[in-house]
Symmetry: C2
Subunit: 99 residues, 2 copies
């Protein structure tokens, strides 16, 4: 049971948070980053999704503070920037597996 008051703006913030996980491309990116740091090209190869689409989604994930990108030479190394991602994805994955 939710024990505290949830303000109207909290619902929008919460909806935005869940939106980050509501797209298969972003989920694929996040799941791949669970295994460790990756460059954009590596994520493209692992997912089979175009460079542009991956880059656009990484930008969104960066804005949402879920991933972090570190530039080094011609590469940008991406890592997860939020410790809750793994728990939420694994919990929800276990959930849909039950169905």
């Amino acid at each position: 049971m939710t024990k505290f008051e949830i303000k109207d703006e909290d619902y929008f913030e919460l909806a935005d948070f869940f939106s980050a996980f509501s797209d298969s491309t972003r989920l694929k990116i996040l799941v791949n980053l669970l295994k460790g740091e990756k460059t954009v090209t590596e994520i493209c190869n692992l997912t089979g999704i175009s460079q542009s689409a991956i880059s656009h989604q990484l930008t969104k994930l960066r804005i949402m503070k879920l991933v972090k990108g570190t530039k080094s030479g011609k590469f940008t190394y991406y890592t997860l920037d939020d410790e809750h991602i793994e728990t939420i994805i694994n919990y929800s994955l276990a959930h849909i597996m039950e169905l």
Copy 2:
């Protein structure tokens, strides 16, 4: 760490699952149902959202098997139909409160 293989279709299913939580109206409905069974009109009054909008979103939540509606006379009593909802919402709520 995710220990098993995630199939391509699983990503779409997972994205659909998160989509259920990615709208403030649906979140408001779900949070209100955490407190127990409610009729459509009660949810409208508690949220200040129109009957039509609530009914449309309840239909979506029903299709996604997150809520269940039981007709009795002129009322339809809605309840949560998935034990994971409370955990996921509370965990994510705690998360955004940290920011």
